[in-house]
């Protein structure tokens, strides 16, 4: 039985939270909160931590069980199977959306002219190798890349601080307060809510306690990183540019300049984002293939990994027609699904289990 330790789980939590969001958050945050964009992120962290602590209660209840097994135990045989099927659908959409996002970013910013599908194919192929090696190897690989990712993030923010214009974040929370609050909704959806997916690997963590701790700690650290990066975008790029760019953090990377020597290293951003989202895709893919094999009662999750990889590749190709639809997707159906699977579902689980335990005590 392969196991990961609490440290590796924390790293995976951070990678998962930053994964898709790090590149979109600044422009969403300023889109809603304008100069209060960093406050939007701050509020998101506060709300997000509440939600994450709800997940950590579920981890405690889940004990050593697989999330799918847990759902089935909670909701009963038939209803449980239906929920697992739907949840797998959510995982599939999530994984292919992330795959699409990285493909789109790469073909737009790094490899102009290379078809997205080639990039997506090579990423899903790598993810396939990763999940066939198992969660232990994924966890360790994440551990190897984590310091480099953090180093790049801090370099990115520190090296541009020279150009910071702190007037950009003033006046603090005076204008459009409501918008600032509303902005937390899409931000939470693409950051903290997605952490529910990680409950699919908590039973692989060697101690349930460290899984709970890892989830909270990882969520907090990544929230702080998002806050720092959003603030950096606002103070360095300015509001308009941050809102207008699809990938403001990449534009931020273009501003790095150290003594006119360390310049033109925006690839740092690509590096950060690529590694975080790669682990996000791998983990989601891993849990999806576990979920499918649980559903079909297969011996090993590896069985379905190859066809699922192919389907995910297809999924990323037919998910979204163009970049224009991204926000229609995030603000629309994706939001609904996220709320359904990552807020309502956990609440249901908690309610049912608390009722059950009361009944047990009563009897």
């Amino acid at each position: 039985m392969e196991k990961i330790d609490g440290k590796q789980f924390t790293i995976l939590v951070i990678m998962n939270t930053l994964g898709a969001s790090i590149i979109f958050i600044p422009s969403i945050a300023t889109g809603f909160g304008k100069e209060n964009g960093w406050l939007t992120v701050l509020f998101s962290i506060a709300f997000g931590m509440l939600i994450v602590s709800m997940y950590s209660v579920i981890i405690k209840q889940q004990a050593e069980r697989d999330i799918f097994c847990f759902i089935e135990d909670t909701f009963g045989k038939w209803f449980g199977v239906i929920i697992i099927i739907l949840f797998n659908g959510y995982l599939f959409t999530n994984a292919s959306a992330n795959l699409w996002a990285i493909g789109d970013f790469m073909s737009l910013q790094i490899l102009m002219g290379t078809p997205e599908q080639a990039i997506e194919l090579i990423i899903i192929g790598t993810a396939l190798i990763a999940i066939r090696h198992g969660i232990e190897v994924i966890g360790r690989t994440a551990e190897v890349f984590f310091p480099f990712t953090m180093l790049s993030t801090s370099l990115l923010t520190l090296l541009v601080m020279e150009e910071a214009n702190w007037q950009n974040i003033q006046p603090v929370f005076q204008l459009n307060r409501l918008d600032t609050f509303v902005g937390t909704i899409p931000i939470i959806v693409i950051t903290f809510l997605e952490l529910f997916i990680l409950l699919g690997i908590t039973h692989k963590v060697n101690r349930p306690k460290s899984a709970q701790k890892g989830l909270l700690l990882g969520g907090f650290i990544s929230g702080m990183l998002l806050l720092v990066i959003t603030t950096a975008c606002i103070v360095v790029l300015g509001l308009k540019a941050t809102t207008h760019y699809t990938y403001p953090i990449y534009a931020l990377g273009q501003r790095i300049s150290l003594f006119n020597f360390l310049e033109r290293v925006e690839i740092l951003v690509a590096f950060i984002w690529f590694f975080t989202i790669f682990f996000k895709i791998s983990i989601t893919f891993y849990i999806l293939s576990n979920g499918m094999s649980y559903l079909l009662k297969l011996k090993n999750h590896k069985t379905l990994s190859i066809p699922l990889a192919l389907l995910l590749f297809l999924g990323s190709a037919i998910l979204i027609p163009t970049t224009f639809n991204v926000f229609t997707f995030i603000y629309g159906p994706y939001l609904v699904f996220s709320v359904l699977f990552t807020i309502i579902l956990p609440i249901c689980i908690l309610l049912i289990n608390s009722v059950k335990s009361k009944q047990q005590k009563g009897s």
């Binding site: 918008d179 066809p307 699922l308 999924g315 037919i318 629309g332 609904v336």
Partner: protein, 82 residues
């Protein structure tokens, strides 16, 4: 066409390797389900490669969640400054 041939050759290699692995494990059920999924995936990707346009997933999802998502999106967009 070239893409399709490339795709077929890759997936047949995959199919062979994975099939052999499962054969060795003597997992009959796994074998059957793997074959079904693989055929399904290969078929629809082949169709995709030959230019059959599938409905975009987000349109499908949008269609399902329309009653909730449409007003939600409009509400959110009303707070969004460009």
């Amino acid at each position: 066409m070239l893409n399709a041939i490339l795709f077929w050759s890759i997936s047949s290699i995959f199919f062979y390797k994975e099939g052999k692995r499962l054969w060795k494990l003597k997992a009959k059920k796994d074998m059957i389900i793997f074959t079904i999924f693989m055929c399904f995936a290969v078929t629809i990707i082949t169709l995709h490669l030959f230019g059959v346009q599938f409905p975009y997933l987000i349109h499908v999802l949008d269609f399902i969640t329309k009653p909730i998502s449409e007003p939600l999106r409009q509400w959110l967009n009303s707070f969004h400054h460009t």
